[in-house]
Protein backbone atom coordinates (compact mmCIF):
# COMPACT_ATOMS: atom_id res chain seq x y z
CA UNK A 1 0.00 0.00 0.00
CA UNK A 2 3.02 2.29 0.42
CA UNK A 3 3.44 2.63 -3.34
CA UNK A 4 -0.26 3.36 -3.66
CA UNK A 5 -0.11 6.07 -1.00
CA UNK A 6 2.80 7.73 -2.82
CA UNK A 7 1.02 7.55 -6.14
CA UNK A 8 -2.18 9.10 -4.77
CA UNK A 9 -0.39 11.91 -2.90
CA UNK A 10 1.98 12.73 -5.76
CA UNK A 11 -0.86 12.73 -8.31
CA UNK A 12 -3.03 14.98 -6.17
CA UNK A 13 -0.20 17.45 -5.55
CA UNK A 14 0.49 17.61 -9.28
CA UNK A 15 -3.13 18.39 -10.15
CA UNK A 16 -4.13 20.60 -7.21
CA UNK A 17 -0.76 22.12 -6.25
CA UNK A 18 -2.00 21.81 -2.66
CA UNK A 19 0.19 19.65 -0.42
CA UNK A 20 -2.11 19.76 2.59
CA UNK A 21 -5.16 18.93 0.52
CA UNK A 22 -3.39 15.93 -1.02
CA UNK A 23 -2.50 14.44 2.35
CA UNK A 24 -5.89 15.25 3.87
CA UNK A 25 -7.74 13.55 1.02
CA UNK A 26 -5.62 10.44 1.30
CA UNK A 27 -6.14 10.38 5.05
CA UNK A 28 -9.87 10.72 4.49
CA UNK A 29 -9.91 7.84 1.99
CA UNK A 30 -7.98 5.61 4.41
CA UNK A 31 -10.41 6.43 7.22
CA UNK A 32 -13.39 5.62 5.01
CA UNK A 33 -11.75 2.34 4.04
CA UNK A 34 -11.16 1.44 7.68
CA UNK A 35 -14.81 2.17 8.43
CA UNK A 36 -16.25 0.38 5.41
CA UNK A 37 -14.03 -2.57 4.53
CA UNK A 38 -14.51 -4.54 7.78
CA UNK A 39 -18.31 -4.25 7.18
CA UNK A 40 -18.62 -4.62 3.39
CA UNK A 41 -15.46 -6.56 2.68
CA UNK A 42 -12.29 -5.36 0.94
CA UNK A 43 -13.06 -4.37 -2.68
CA UNK A 44 -11.46 -6.41 -5.47
CA UNK A 45 -9.18 -3.56 -6.31
CA UNK A 46 -8.51 -1.84 -3.03
CA UNK A 47 -5.91 0.46 -4.57
CA UNK A 48 -8.28 1.82 -7.21
CA UNK A 49 -10.98 2.25 -4.56
CA UNK A 50 -8.63 4.35 -2.41
CA UNK A 51 -7.49 6.42 -5.38
CA UNK A 52 -11.02 7.15 -6.55
CA UNK A 53 -12.21 7.99 -3.04
CA UNK A 54 -9.28 10.37 -2.49
CA UNK A 55 -9.83 12.05 -5.87
CA UNK A 56 -13.55 12.49 -5.20
CA UNK A 57 -12.80 14.02 -1.84
CA UNK A 58 -10.36 16.46 -3.51
CA UNK A 59 -13.04 17.35 -6.06
CA UNK A 60 -15.56 18.09 -3.29
CA UNK A 61 -13.15 20.33 -1.41
CA UNK A 62 -12.04 22.20 -4.52
CA UNK A 63 -15.63 22.71 -5.72
CA UNK A 64 -16.49 24.23 -2.39
CA UNK A 65 -13.46 26.49 -2.72
CA UNK A 66 -14.55 27.55 -6.22
CA UNK A 67 -11.19 26.51 -7.65
CA UNK A 68 -10.49 27.33 -11.27
CA UNK A 69 -12.24 25.01 -13.70
CA UNK A 70 -9.11 23.55 -15.29
CA UNK A 71 -8.02 21.78 -12.11
CA UNK A 72 -11.56 20.48 -11.60
CA UNK A 73 -11.69 19.20 -15.17
CA UNK A 74 -8.43 17.23 -14.79
CA UNK A 75 -9.46 15.90 -11.41
CA UNK A 76 -12.88 14.84 -12.67
CA UNK A 77 -11.20 13.00 -15.52
CA UNK A 78 -8.87 11.26 -13.06
CA UNK A 79 -11.68 10.23 -10.70
CA UNK A 80 -13.83 8.94 -13.56
CA UNK A 81 -10.94 7.13 -15.18
CA UNK A 82 -10.07 5.33 -11.98
CA UNK A 83 -13.60 4.16 -11.54
CA UNK A 84 -14.16 2.73 -15.00
CA UNK A 85 -10.76 1.21 -15.48
CA UNK A 86 -11.15 -0.62 -12.16
CA UNK A 87 -7.48 -0.73 -11.41
CA UNK A 88 -6.32 -1.21 -14.97
CA UNK A 89 -5.32 2.42 -15.18
CA UNK A 90 -1.85 2.71 -16.70
CA UNK A 91 -0.64 4.76 -13.75
CA UNK A 92 -1.76 2.10 -11.28
CA UNK A 93 1.30 0.12 -12.23
CA UNK A 94 4.04 0.97 -9.74
CA UNK A 95 6.58 0.51 -12.52
CA UNK A 96 4.60 2.63 -14.99
CA UNK A 97 5.80 5.89 -16.50
CA UNK A 98 3.10 8.07 -14.97
CA UNK A 99 3.74 6.73 -11.50
CA UNK A 100 7.49 7.15 -11.94
CA UNK A 101 7.13 10.76 -13.10
CA UNK A 102 4.82 11.77 -10.28
CA UNK A 103 7.00 10.27 -7.57
CA UNK A 104 10.12 11.80 -9.12
CA UNK A 105 8.40 15.20 -9.14
CA UNK A 106 7.58 14.70 -5.48
CA UNK A 107 11.13 13.67 -4.54
CA UNK A 108 12.81 16.49 -6.46
CA UNK A 109 10.41 19.06 -5.05
CA UNK A 110 10.83 17.88 -1.45
CA UNK A 111 14.61 17.99 -1.92
CA UNK A 112 14.74 21.31 -3.79
CA UNK A 113 18.01 23.07 -2.94
CA UNK A 114 16.16 26.37 -2.37
CA UNK A 115 14.53 24.79 0.71
CA UNK A 116 16.37 24.65 4.04
CA UNK A 117 17.98 21.23 4.51
CA UNK A 118 16.02 20.50 7.70
CA UNK A 119 12.84 21.29 5.76
CA UNK A 120 13.86 19.02 2.88
CA UNK A 121 14.43 16.13 5.29
CA UNK A 122 11.17 16.73 7.18
CA UNK A 123 9.07 17.06 4.04
CA UNK A 124 10.62 13.96 2.45
CA UNK A 125 9.88 11.87 5.53
CA UNK A 126 6.37 13.27 5.81
CA UNK A 127 5.27 13.17 2.19
CA UNK A 128 7.45 10.55 0.48
CA UNK A 129 7.97 8.13 3.37
CA UNK A 130 4.49 8.80 4.73
CA UNK A 131 5.48 9.36 8.38
CA UNK A 132 3.14 11.39 10.57
CA UNK A 133 4.24 14.81 11.82
CA UNK A 134 4.50 13.26 15.28
CA UNK A 135 6.80 10.50 14.02
CA UNK A 136 9.06 12.92 12.16
CA UNK A 137 9.20 15.14 15.26
CA UNK A 138 10.13 12.21 17.48
CA UNK A 139 12.84 11.06 15.10
CA UNK A 140 14.49 14.48 15.19
CA UNK A 141 13.93 14.95 18.91
CA UNK A 142 11.82 18.09 18.55
CA UNK A 143 8.24 18.76 19.63
CA UNK A 144 5.36 17.98 17.30
CA UNK A 145 4.49 21.70 17.23
CA UNK A 146 8.04 22.63 16.17
CA UNK A 147 8.02 20.01 13.41
CA UNK A 148 4.56 21.16 12.29
CA UNK A 149 5.91 24.70 11.98
CA UNK A 150 8.96 23.48 10.05
CA UNK A 151 6.77 21.56 7.60
CA UNK A 152 4.45 24.54 7.19
CA UNK A 153 7.34 26.94 6.53
CA UNK A 154 8.78 24.54 3.96
CA UNK A 155 5.49 24.16 2.10
CA UNK A 156 4.94 27.93 2.28
CA UNK A 157 8.30 28.56 0.65
CA UNK A 158 7.44 26.06 -2.11
CA UNK A 159 4.31 28.08 -2.84
CA UNK A 160 5.74 31.59 -2.41
CA UNK A 161 9.11 31.15 -4.11
CA UNK A 162 7.56 29.52 -7.18
CA UNK A 163 9.03 26.03 -6.76
CA UNK A 164 6.96 24.01 -9.20
CA UNK A 165 6.11 20.35 -8.93
CA UNK A 166 8.35 19.05 -11.66
CA UNK A 167 11.39 17.04 -12.63
CA UNK A 168 14.50 19.20 -13.22
CA UNK A 169 15.80 19.91 -16.70
CA UNK A 170 17.93 17.04 -18.05
CA UNK A 171 21.23 18.91 -17.58
CA UNK A 172 20.40 19.47 -13.89
CA UNK A 173 19.20 15.96 -13.05
CA UNK A 174 22.58 14.68 -11.83
CA UNK A 175 23.20 17.54 -9.40
CA UNK A 176 19.60 17.56 -8.22
CA UNK A 177 19.80 13.80 -7.70
CA UNK A 178 22.86 14.44 -5.53
CA UNK A 179 20.59 16.69 -3.42
CA UNK A 180 18.04 13.88 -3.03
CA UNK A 181 20.80 11.45 -2.04
CA UNK A 182 22.14 13.92 0.53
CA UNK A 183 18.70 13.97 2.17
CA UNK A 184 18.51 10.15 2.22
CA UNK A 185 22.03 9.94 3.66
CA UNK A 186 21.17 12.49 6.32
CA UNK A 187 18.09 10.51 7.34
CA UNK A 188 20.22 7.36 7.58
CA UNK A 189 22.95 8.99 9.62
CA UNK A 190 20.40 10.50 11.96
CA UNK A 191 19.15 6.96 12.59
CA UNK A 192 22.62 5.41 12.64
CA UNK A 193 24.30 7.91 14.98
CA UNK A 194 21.56 7.78 17.57
CA UNK A 195 22.44 4.27 18.73
CA UNK A 196 20.81 4.44 22.13
CA UNK A 197 18.45 1.54 21.53
CA UNK A 198 15.63 3.94 20.78
CA UNK A 199 13.08 2.37 18.47
CA UNK A 200 12.25 5.47 16.46
CA UNK A 201 15.90 6.00 15.50
CA UNK A 202 16.19 2.45 14.19
CA UNK A 203 13.07 3.14 12.17
CA UNK A 204 14.75 6.17 10.68
CA UNK A 205 17.62 4.08 9.28
CA UNK A 206 15.06 1.64 7.89
CA UNK A 207 13.15 4.55 6.31
CA UNK A 208 16.40 5.71 4.69
CA UNK A 209 16.93 2.22 3.25
CA UNK A 210 13.39 2.23 1.83
CA UNK A 211 13.95 5.70 0.34
CA UNK A 212 17.28 4.60 -1.17
CA UNK A 213 15.50 1.61 -2.73
CA UNK A 214 12.81 3.87 -4.15
CA UNK A 215 15.36 6.29 -5.64
CA UNK A 216 17.33 3.37 -7.11
CA UNK A 217 14.19 2.08 -8.85
CA UNK A 218 13.29 5.54 -10.13
CA UNK A 219 16.75 6.64 -11.28
CA UNK A 220 18.57 3.41 -12.15
CA UNK A 221 20.91 5.15 -14.57
CA UNK A 222 22.58 7.24 -11.83
CA UNK A 223 25.65 5.44 -10.43
CA UNK A 224 25.71 7.34 -7.13
CA UNK A 225 22.14 6.24 -6.41
CA UNK A 226 23.34 2.63 -6.38
CA UNK A 227 26.52 3.65 -4.58
CA UNK A 228 24.55 5.23 -1.74
CA UNK A 229 22.12 2.32 -1.53
CA UNK A 230 25.04 -0.11 -1.38
CA UNK A 231 26.73 1.97 1.33
CA UNK A 232 23.60 2.09 3.48
CA UNK A 233 22.91 -1.64 3.11
CA UNK A 234 26.52 -2.59 3.91
CA UNK A 235 26.58 -0.33 6.98
CA UNK A 236 23.16 -1.38 8.18
CA UNK A 237 24.09 -5.06 7.80
CA UNK A 238 26.53 -4.61 10.71
CA UNK A 239 23.92 -3.06 12.96
CA UNK A 240 23.28 -6.03 15.28
CA UNK A 241 27.01 -6.47 15.91
CA UNK A 242 27.71 -2.80 16.64
CA UNK A 243 26.44 -2.99 20.22
CA UNK A 244 26.70 -5.73 22.87
CA UNK A 245 23.96 -6.94 25.22
CA UNK A 246 24.63 -4.02 27.56
CA UNK A 247 24.17 -1.57 24.68
CA UNK A 248 27.88 -0.73 24.60
CA UNK A 249 29.62 0.03 21.30
CA UNK A 250 31.71 -2.75 19.81
CA UNK A 251 34.49 -1.51 17.48
CA UNK A 252 34.59 -3.20 14.09
CA UNK A 253 37.72 -5.28 14.82
CA UNK A 254 35.96 -6.86 17.83
CA UNK A 255 32.56 -7.42 16.21
CA UNK A 256 31.11 -10.91 15.94
CA UNK A 257 30.97 -11.17 12.17
CA UNK A 258 28.47 -14.00 12.28
CA UNK A 259 25.97 -11.39 13.46
CA UNK A 260 26.37 -9.36 10.29
CA UNK A 261 23.26 -9.64 8.14
CA UNK A 262 24.57 -11.67 5.19
CA UNK A 263 21.46 -11.16 3.05
CA UNK A 264 21.81 -7.42 3.47
CA UNK A 265 25.53 -7.59 2.68
CA UNK A 266 24.66 -9.43 -0.55
CA UNK A 267 22.07 -6.80 -1.44
CA UNK A 268 24.66 -4.08 -0.75
CA UNK A 269 27.23 -5.80 -2.96
CA UNK A 270 24.63 -6.11 -5.71
CA UNK A 271 23.98 -2.36 -5.54
CA UNK A 272 27.71 -1.73 -5.68
CA UNK A 273 27.93 -3.91 -8.78
CA UNK A 274 25.09 -1.90 -10.35
CA UNK A 275 27.04 1.30 -9.62
CA UNK A 276 30.23 -0.15 -11.16
CA UNK A 277 28.27 -1.33 -14.21
CA UNK A 278 27.42 2.24 -15.16
CA UNK A 279 31.09 2.52 -16.17
CA UNK A 280 31.38 6.00 -14.65
CA UNK A 281 34.36 7.07 -12.58
CA UNK A 282 33.50 6.29 -8.96
CA UNK A 283 31.82 9.03 -6.95
CA UNK A 284 31.89 9.62 -3.23
CA UNK A 285 29.07 7.24 -2.20
CA UNK A 286 30.36 4.46 -4.40
CA UNK A 287 33.88 4.77 -2.96
CA UNK A 288 32.48 4.68 0.57
CA UNK A 289 30.46 1.60 -0.42
CA UNK A 290 33.65 0.01 -1.80
CA UNK A 291 35.33 0.60 1.57
CA UNK A 292 32.34 -0.90 3.42
CA UNK A 293 32.39 -3.85 1.00
CA UNK A 294 36.08 -4.47 1.67
CA UNK A 295 35.29 -4.77 5.38
CA UNK A 296 32.22 -6.89 4.70
CA UNK A 297 34.19 -9.40 2.66
CA UNK A 298 37.01 -9.88 5.17
CA UNK A 299 36.36 -13.16 7.04
CA UNK A 300 38.05 -11.70 10.14
CA UNK A 301 39.25 -8.25 11.16
CA UNK A 302 42.89 -9.38 10.86
CA UNK A 303 42.22 -10.44 7.24
CA UNK A 304 41.08 -6.96 6.16
CA UNK A 305 42.67 -5.80 2.92
CA UNK A 306 44.07 -2.54 4.35
CA UNK A 307 46.08 -1.83 1.20
CA UNK A 308 42.81 -1.61 -0.70
CA UNK A 309 41.09 0.39 2.04
CA UNK A 310 43.88 3.02 2.07
CA UNK A 311 43.80 3.21 -1.75
CA UNK A 312 40.04 3.76 -1.61
CA UNK A 313 40.43 6.52 0.98
CA UNK A 314 43.03 8.17 -1.27
CA UNK A 315 40.53 8.09 -4.13
CA UNK A 316 37.76 9.36 -1.83
CA UNK A 317 39.97 12.28 -0.73
CA UNK A 318 40.39 13.25 -4.38
CA UNK A 319 36.64 13.44 -5.08
CA UNK A 320 35.67 14.67 -1.62
CA UNK A 321 38.54 16.46 0.12
CA UNK A 322 37.32 16.61 3.71
CA UNK A 323 39.13 16.47 7.07
CA UNK A 324 36.83 13.65 8.26
CA UNK A 325 37.84 11.51 5.26
CA UNK A 326 41.49 12.35 5.99
CA UNK A 327 40.95 11.24 9.61
CA UNK A 328 39.49 7.90 8.47
CA UNK A 329 42.39 7.48 6.09
CA UNK A 330 44.83 7.94 9.01
CA UNK A 331 43.03 5.12 10.86
CA UNK A 332 43.33 2.83 7.82
CA UNK A 333 46.99 3.76 7.39
CA UNK A 334 47.51 2.86 11.05
CA UNK A 335 46.33 -0.66 10.24
CA UNK A 336 48.24 -0.96 6.96
CA UNK A 337 51.62 0.42 8.07
CA UNK A 338 51.32 0.32 11.87
CA UNK A 339 50.23 2.81 14.53
CA UNK A 340 53.28 5.11 14.21
CA UNK A 341 52.48 5.68 10.52
CA UNK A 342 48.88 6.33 11.47
CA UNK A 343 50.00 8.91 14.02
CA UNK A 344 52.07 10.64 11.34
CA UNK A 345 49.05 10.92 9.05
CA UNK A 346 46.92 12.01 11.98
CA UNK A 347 49.35 14.80 12.85
CA UNK A 348 48.76 16.27 9.38
CA UNK A 349 44.99 16.21 9.91
CA UNK A 350 45.40 17.83 13.32
CA UNK A 351 47.78 20.40 11.91
CA UNK A 352 45.12 21.59 9.46
CA UNK A 353 43.04 22.54 12.51
CA UNK A 354 39.66 22.03 10.85
CA UNK A 355 38.51 19.32 13.28
CA UNK A 356 39.32 21.18 16.49
CA UNK A 357 36.82 20.15 19.18
CA UNK A 358 35.77 16.95 17.34
CA UNK A 359 35.90 14.07 19.84
CA UNK A 360 37.02 11.49 17.27
CA UNK A 361 40.30 13.37 16.76
CA UNK A 362 41.71 12.64 20.26
CA UNK A 363 39.84 9.30 20.27
CA UNK A 364 41.68 8.14 17.12
CA UNK A 365 44.98 9.47 18.48
CA UNK A 366 44.35 7.60 21.75
CA UNK A 367 43.67 4.36 19.90
CA UNK A 368 46.82 4.64 17.78
CA UNK A 369 48.93 5.46 20.87
CA UNK A 370 47.39 2.50 22.71
CA UNK A 371 48.27 0.16 19.86
CA UNK A 372 51.77 1.63 19.74
CA UNK A 373 52.13 0.75 23.44
CA UNK A 374 52.44 4.41 24.46
CA UNK A 375 49.89 3.99 27.26
CA UNK A 376 50.47 7.17 29.22
CA UNK A 377 50.03 9.36 26.17
CA UNK A 378 47.03 7.24 25.17
CA UNK A 379 45.42 7.79 28.58
CA UNK A 380 45.80 11.56 28.21
CA UNK A 381 44.23 11.42 24.73
CA UNK A 382 41.31 9.26 25.98
CA UNK A 383 40.74 11.78 28.76
CA UNK A 384 40.71 14.58 26.19
CA UNK A 385 38.22 12.68 24.02
CA UNK A 386 36.00 12.15 27.08
CA UNK A 387 35.68 15.90 27.56
CA UNK A 388 34.34 16.24 24.00
CA UNK A 389 32.22 13.10 23.45
CA UNK A 390 28.47 13.59 23.14
CA UNK A 391 26.67 10.23 23.25
CA UNK A 392 26.58 8.00 26.32
CA UNK A 393 27.50 4.87 24.34
CA UNK A 394 30.67 6.45 23.00
CA UNK A 395 31.52 7.73 26.48
CA UNK A 396 31.25 4.22 27.94
CA UNK A 397 33.43 2.87 25.14
CA UNK A 398 36.19 5.42 25.79
CA UNK A 399 36.01 4.75 29.53
CA UNK A 400 36.37 1.03 28.89
CA UNK A 401 39.48 1.63 26.80
CA UNK A 402 40.90 3.86 29.50
CA UNK A 403 40.39 1.09 32.07
CA UNK A 404 41.95 -1.50 29.73
CA UNK A 405 45.24 0.33 29.43
CA UNK A 406 45.19 0.63 33.22
CA UNK A 407 47.14 3.81 33.80
Amino acid sequence: MAGERLRIVAGLIRVTGDWDLAEDCLQDAVERALARWPRDGVPDNAAAWLTTTAHRRALDVLRRRRTETEKLRVLTAMATFDEHSAGNAPDADPHGEAYRDDVLRLLFTCCHPALPLTGQVALTLKTVAGLSTREVARAFLVSEATMGQRLLRTRTKIANAGITFRVPDPHRVTERTAGVLAVVYLVFNEGYAGTEGEGTRDDLAAEALRLAGLVARLLPEDDEVHGLRGLLLLQHARRAARTDEAGDLVPMDEQDRSRWDRAMVSAGLASLTAARDTGRPPGSYRLQAEIAATHAMAPAAAATDWVRVVDLYDALLRVQPSPVVALNRAVALGFRDGPEAGLGALAEVEGAGELAGYHLLPAVRADLLRRAGRNEEAAAAYAEALTLVRTAAERRFLERRLREIGT
Binding site: A114, N160, G162, I163, T164, R166, D169
Partner: protein, 112 residues
Protein backbone atom coordinates in the same frame (compact mmCIF):
# COMPACT_ATOMS: atom_id res chain seq x y z
CA UNK B 1 6.11 35.00 -11.67
CA UNK B 2 8.25 38.07 -11.15
CA UNK B 3 11.54 37.83 -9.34
CA UNK B 4 13.82 40.61 -8.16
CA UNK B 5 17.38 39.46 -8.74
CA UNK B 6 19.83 41.36 -6.55
CA UNK B 7 23.33 41.36 -7.98
CA UNK B 8 25.81 41.44 -5.11
CA UNK B 9 29.56 41.23 -4.61
CA UNK B 10 31.13 38.30 -2.79
CA UNK B 11 34.35 38.06 -0.81
CA UNK B 12 35.02 34.61 -2.31
CA UNK B 13 34.50 34.78 -6.07
CA UNK B 14 35.07 31.75 -8.30
CA UNK B 15 38.74 31.41 -9.23
CA UNK B 16 38.42 28.53 -11.69
CA UNK B 17 39.80 29.10 -15.19
CA UNK B 18 36.34 28.75 -16.83
CA UNK B 19 35.79 31.37 -19.54
CA UNK B 20 33.99 34.48 -18.30
CA UNK B 21 30.34 34.94 -19.27
CA UNK B 22 29.52 38.14 -21.14
CA UNK B 23 26.87 40.40 -19.59
CA UNK B 24 25.86 41.65 -23.05
CA UNK B 25 25.18 38.11 -24.22
CA UNK B 26 23.22 37.40 -21.03
CA UNK B 27 21.16 40.56 -21.44
CA UNK B 28 20.38 39.91 -25.11
CA UNK B 29 19.32 36.35 -24.30
CA UNK B 30 16.93 37.14 -21.40
CA UNK B 31 15.51 40.19 -23.18
CA UNK B 32 15.05 38.26 -26.44
CA UNK B 33 13.11 35.53 -24.63
CA UNK B 34 10.88 38.05 -22.87
CA UNK B 35 12.23 37.12 -19.45
CA UNK B 36 13.69 40.53 -18.58
CA UNK B 37 11.48 43.33 -17.27
CA UNK B 38 14.13 45.87 -16.29
CA UNK B 39 17.42 46.19 -14.48
CA UNK B 40 20.37 48.46 -13.89
CA UNK B 41 23.63 49.06 -12.08
CA UNK B 42 23.58 50.96 -8.78
CA UNK B 43 26.12 53.57 -7.67
CA UNK B 44 28.54 52.35 -4.95
CA UNK B 45 27.82 52.52 -1.22
CA UNK B 46 29.63 55.87 -0.85
CA UNK B 47 26.78 57.35 -2.85
CA UNK B 48 24.04 55.70 -0.76
CA UNK B 49 21.76 57.72 1.52
CA UNK B 50 19.65 56.25 4.32
CA UNK B 51 16.44 57.98 5.36
CA UNK B 52 14.46 57.48 8.59
CA UNK B 53 11.81 59.42 10.46
CA UNK B 54 11.78 59.07 14.26
CA UNK B 55 9.33 60.98 16.48
CA UNK B 56 8.53 63.23 13.59
CA UNK B 57 12.17 64.03 13.00
CA UNK B 58 13.82 63.34 9.67
CA UNK B 59 17.13 61.51 9.97
CA UNK B 60 19.27 61.45 6.85
CA UNK B 61 22.57 59.59 7.03
CA UNK B 62 25.37 58.79 4.67
CA UNK B 63 25.79 55.16 3.64
CA UNK B 64 23.71 51.98 3.32
CA UNK B 65 21.22 50.59 5.88
CA UNK B 66 23.45 47.66 6.72
CA UNK B 67 27.21 47.55 6.84
CA UNK B 68 28.40 44.36 5.21
CA UNK B 69 31.39 43.02 3.35
CA UNK B 70 29.11 42.32 0.42
CA UNK B 71 26.94 44.95 -1.21
CA UNK B 72 24.27 45.13 -3.85
CA UNK B 73 25.69 46.54 -7.05
CA UNK B 74 22.70 46.14 -9.33
CA UNK B 75 19.41 44.39 -9.92
CA UNK B 76 17.27 42.78 -12.59
CA UNK B 77 13.56 42.11 -12.56
CA UNK B 78 12.82 38.79 -14.22
CA UNK B 79 9.55 37.35 -15.45
CA UNK B 80 9.85 33.56 -15.15
CA UNK B 81 7.71 30.44 -15.22
CA UNK B 82 9.01 29.32 -11.85
CA UNK B 83 12.00 29.40 -9.51
CA UNK B 84 13.89 26.78 -11.51
CA UNK B 85 13.80 29.01 -14.58
CA UNK B 86 14.94 32.02 -12.53
CA UNK B 87 17.80 29.95 -11.08
CA UNK B 88 18.79 28.85 -14.58
CA UNK B 89 18.86 32.48 -15.79
CA UNK B 90 20.76 33.64 -12.70
CA UNK B 91 23.34 30.87 -13.14
CA UNK B 92 24.29 32.28 -16.55
CA UNK B 93 24.83 35.84 -15.25
CA UNK B 94 28.56 36.69 -14.98
CA UNK B 95 28.09 37.77 -11.36
CA UNK B 96 26.99 34.24 -10.42
CA UNK B 97 30.73 33.47 -10.52
CA UNK B 98 32.24 36.83 -9.61
CA UNK B 99 29.74 37.62 -6.89
CA UNK B 100 26.39 36.22 -5.85
CA UNK B 101 22.77 36.65 -6.86
CA UNK B 102 19.73 36.70 -4.63
CA UNK B 103 16.32 35.82 -6.06
CA UNK B 104 13.32 37.31 -4.28
CA UNK B 105 9.84 36.51 -5.56
CA UNK B 106 7.49 39.46 -5.93
CA UNK B 107 4.66 39.52 -3.41
CA UNK B 108 1.87 41.27 -5.32
CA UNK B 109 -0.02 43.71 -3.09
CA UNK B 110 -3.39 42.18 -4.02
CA UNK B 111 -2.29 38.72 -2.82
CA UNK B 112 -2.82 37.93 0.86
Amino acid sequence: MKYMMFVATDTAPDTSPEPQADIEVWGADVDGRGKWVMGDRLRPLEDATTVRVRSGELLVTDGPFTESKEWIMGFDILECEDLDEAIEIASKHPMARNGRLELRPFWPIDEG
